[in-house]
């Protein structure tokens, strides 16, 4: 009976036609939850018993020395690296360890890589087009058409990242900083629930940094953002809560002031306070 009923609901799409993702359940608070995660490479523990929780809508900064495991942590969240032990949950429903990269991405986790990676043979415009949130299965992709709202959205992002003029150039010829921007743009097109941003302002001028800061803080609230950055000026300008990673686990956590005054953080990371600009 209810089956027949469902058939009569003409506005309802059949299940198998729906994108294969169920909404993220954040009723219990955190959108991302890492527990006791450990990963080692040939005996070297890059991540060591890491525990981390990101709340829905939060903007979190993660800092820590080179090699502390920040990028590796993002690799784990996005499915690129499998941890040896531990749990990684997205909301309270999705066990990320049981999924592969595209599945995780289609759940709404977007990432900007430390080393900017864009599709070099495709134009800037096409890079953004591919990143756009859409039905990413085969047939819809094959038959997808460039409709006006989509184009507008892309133009809008191009404007934001300052690459409007270069939109038909292949991404491969962009300068380093331009690639950084393009990756940020791709992230924006994706409209993910959770953004993982690895060193977004490397190679940017002060003023660009400010723009990036505005952009990220603007996103926070609607989306959750995790930022890894070494530029303390930048971190200070956006940070609410800061986590310090060291040797694969959390060394300190708290507000910017709290952590920057933590002697351990100063020792392993910041250096003598008078040196800090």
């Amino acid at each position: 009976m209810s089956f027949l009923g469902s058939l009569s609901e003409r506005d309802r799409v059949f299940d198998f036609l729906m994108p294969a993702q169920s909404p993220v359940d954040v009723r219990h608070g955190p959108i991302l939850y890492l527990e006791d995660v450990t990963v080692s490479f040939d005996g070297f523990k890059a991540i060591n018993d890491l525990n981390l929780t990101i709340d829905d809508g939060e903007l979190r900064c993660i800092i820590g020395p080179n090699g502390a495991g920040k990028t590796t942590m993002m690799d784990i969240i996005t499915g690129k690296t499998r941890p040896d032990t531990g749990k990684v949950w997205f909301g309270s429903r999705h066990n990320l360890l049981a999924m592969n990269e595209p599945e995780i991405a289609s759940l709404g986790i977007g990432r900007k890589f430390q080393k900017p990676t864009v599709f070099e043979a495709l134009s800037v415009f096409e890079n953004l087009e591919l990143a756009m949130a859409a039905d990413k299965r085969i047939l819809p992709t094959l038959t997808a058409r460039m409709v006006e709202p989509v184009r507008e959205r892309i133009e809008e992002v191009l404007e934001t990242i300052g690459l409007t003029e270069l939109r038909h150039r292949p991404a491969g010829i962009l300068s380093h900083g331009q690639k950084q921007w393009l990756e940020i743009g791709m992230l924006l097109m994706q409209r993910p629930r959770l953004l993982l941003v690895d060193e977004p302002v490397a190679g940017m001028t002060e003023q660009e940094m400010e723009r990036t800061a505005e952009l990220l803080t603007g996103l926070a609230g609607k989306q959750s953002v995790v930022v890894v950055e070494h530029d303390m000026g930048f971190v200070r300008s956006i940070a609410r809560k800061v986590t310090v990673l060291h040797q694969g686990s959390v060394l300190a956590e708290g507000s910017m002031d709290q952590v920057s005054n933590d002697p351990r953080v100063v020792e392993v990371y910041l250096g003598a306070p008078d040196e800090e600009a």
Binding site: K115, G177, W181, T205, E206, E208
Partner: protein
């Protein structure tokens, strides 16, 4: 140390460097600044010979005309290069990466100078790890260490602090100063971060659309200049 005269460069049909003049005085740190995509990296590549130029001169150490030298010979003349994006050899171990720098040394040294490991202890720790496995910042340290292995007279650094933890950035700055003071090294630096530039550079050059638009002692780098040339 380096005198560039009317340098022009094209990527296919797009003109990137326009009649560029630049003077890098010996024993000083000259910092090149400018917005994304104005051609800073291109200029460094042109000096190293990685991108062909179409016209202009680059004179090195008063008498050597670099444009007529092959790339490999430029480093043998004592130019060390830390490129943007690190460009380490991903499948070579850290030690092997460093050893590549030995080719350019004239003294036939066979081991890694200990000073490198003193500067960047993490490199010694990770000696046998493949370069590509290192974290971004570690790679950056490796790239700098590798350039230092050749004991350069002129060191070109393209955004060297990128991705490096603050205390090491400071350290790098200190090292630059020390090398300038002790060995008479000349440094050509590309840097966007004002505090760093202000602290460690002697002179600045601001580029816009392939041309230098302002230059002077670092003390002369005013907020007005910054506003004019470094903001969008």
């Amino acid at each position: 140390m380096l005198t560039i005269d009317k340098l022009n460069q094209f990527y296919g049909e797009s003109h990137t460097l326009w009649d560029l003049d630049l003077e890098v005085p010996a024993g000083q740190c000259t910092c090149v600044m400018g917005r994304n995509g104005v051609g800073k990296t291109t200029l460094m590549k042109a000096i190293m010979g990685e991108e062909p130029v179409s016209g202009g001169n680059i004179r090195y150490a008063d008498d050597v005309e670099l444009t007529r030298r092959r790339v490999e010979d430029r480093s043998r003349l004592g130019i060390g290069y830390v490129p943007q994006g690190r460009q380490i050899f991903p499948l070579l171990t850290v030690e092997e990466n460093l050893r590549t720098g030995l080719a350019a040394r004239s003294d036939g040294l066979r081991g890694i100078p200990p000073r490198i490991y003193e500067l960047f202890p993490v490199l010694e720790e990770m000696k046998h790890r493949r370069g590509g496995d290192l974290s971004g910042g570690q790679q950056q340290q490796l790239a700098i260490g590798r350039a230092l292995v050749i004991e350069p007279r002129l060191l070109i650094l393209d955004e060297p602090g990128e991705g490096i933890q603050p205390n090491i950035v400071t350290l790098i700055g200190e090292v630059i100063r020390r090398l300038i003071a002790e060995d008479g090294l000349t440094v050509l630096l590309v840097e966007q971060k004002l505090p760093f530039a202000r602290k460690y550079a002697d002179r600045f050059v601001i580029m816009d659309r392939g041309r230098p638009v302002a230059r002077g002692d670092i003390g002369e780098l005013s907020d007005g200049l910054i506003k004019e040339h470094l903001t969008v």
